[in-house]
Amino acid sequence: MKTQWQPSADISTLKTRAEFLAKIRQFFHDQNVLEVDTPVLASFTVTDPNIESIAATCNGKTAYLQTSPEFFMKRLLAAGSGDIYYLGKSFRDEEFGAKHNPEFTMLEWYRVGYNDHQLIENTLELIFSLLPEAPVTKLSYKSLFEKHFNVNPHTVSVNKIKMIAQQYCDVQFDSDDVDVWLNLLFTHVIEPAMQGWFVVYDFPESQGALAKKAINEDGDVIAKRFEIYCDGLELGNGYWELTDAKEQRQRFENDVRQRKLHGYRDIHYDENILAALDSGMPECAGIAMGVDRLLMIKTKKLIINDVISFVFE
């Protein structure tokens, strides 16, 4: 067998990486945000149909490598932790590519009492303590679709959005899910056009996952979710967090139904997170960022392999 023992990143990049992690910890220390080290292996995992967990066996039972520290962090928030951050590994199966590695470093943090826009400011403050200050364009998801395709993504019919998507991309599949076409246009047309720093906010309700629902100034139902991009590279996903256990349970149940419909692995949702929400998780906003990708921006690397010590082998 041909061996490839050398690291995938060069040593000087790894030194930059170490400084980067130290600076992130310093930033949160200065803001009185507590570092928490939550489990990466647990019996439960996310139900999101678009995220696959890596299964392991622990004590003879199936357990999962966590795709994000979100559920444990929310349980800490409900237990009265106050502001917290996690800087460590997360795992997602089937994610391989120039910008994906199944094991990656995630920075996730929660600020109690913040809404999405306050957390956006806090996120930019962190980013520009690590990278050179630059102008940032903030746009709603809707305004991007209006600008590029002249449609309202919150009300467009599946046939209309499919027709638009097929004009831009030569697709080899069909779908009656509006979000599939919205995601296609977002990743294939909008992201490549976002040169520089962008914050996109107010996503479609159906793409809300664990975000609060709200109504925008035009009367569309939206999710209080935002995303950060640099030169079209997705760096972070934030929510003004849903605190309603009943609503969260419905969304989990819907995920489980979707999984069944698509023939994906059956995942039982975690009752602990629902119980934590039910006990009264404080109003807060949270964001997860891909640290490897932030480092790609910092070191001007185009491939994730160049910033991690050893890519999955």
Binding site: F96, K99, Q172, D179, N237
Partner: protein, 191 residues
């Protein structure tokens, strides 16, 4: 035939797309943190030579194409077909004009080419990257002119026309890059 899922797609893999065999050139994984994953795939249609860019849902699959690349010796042209031989099995294959295509101008008997077989028949002929061919026609050579860097057209034994330095003459053997059609130097003989 086996099939390949989008996350197995690699450069060089041969798959069937809309009834034509294609070679995968690039496979880019595109996935928003929350949402459907896609694979943006560049493929060359081996029947037409055209490069296509298609988007798949991650996890979808394509049937493998019965396409193999094999080194074969070029034997001769009978006016209609170009005949190649597998040096290991001595099995012969006849390629038509469409399969030979642009490679026609670089085919020299006994050279080893890559023959792409689709369902057992030659689909594409790829000449060696470098070939050595005789100049059959060119203006008289200017002796000793190795400094001015000027060039002149020369016709080679296969009919290809390339640019050669002014000092080259008829009967000399040149080394050519078949991918660019560029003159690389005088063949040093003995090959």
């Amino acid at each position: 035939m086996a099939s390949f899922s989008t996350n197995e797609f690699r450069g060089g893999m041969k798959v069937m797309l809309d009834g034509d065999p294609c070679s995968i050139l690039e496979n880019e994984y595109v996935k928003p943190g929350k949402g459907q994953a896609f694979n943006r795939v560049k493929l060359r249609n081996l029947a037409t030579g055209r490069v296509l860019e298609k988007t798949f849902k991650s996890g979808d699959s394509l049937e493998a194409a019965d396409v193999v690349d094999q080194d074969m010796e070029y034997l001769y042209n009978d006016g209609e077909f170009w005949h190649f031989m597998d040096p290991a099995s001595y099995e012969q294959h006849a390629a038509d004009e469409k399969a030979v295509g642009e490679s026609i101008k670089w085919l020299k008997e006994q050279d080893v080419c890559v023959v792409t077989l689709y369902n057992g028949s030659p689909l594409v002929i790829t000449p060696p990257n470098h070939v050595e061919l005789e100049i059959t026609e060119t203006d008289p050579g200017i002796k000793g002119d190795t400094a001015t860097g000027g060039t002149k057209p020369a016709t080679l034994s296969t009919g290809a026309v390339i640019k050669v330095p002014l000092f080259m003459s008829i009967g000399e053997i040149v080394r050519v890059d078949t991918r660019t059609g560029e003159y690389l130097g005088r063949a040093t003989g003995g090959k």
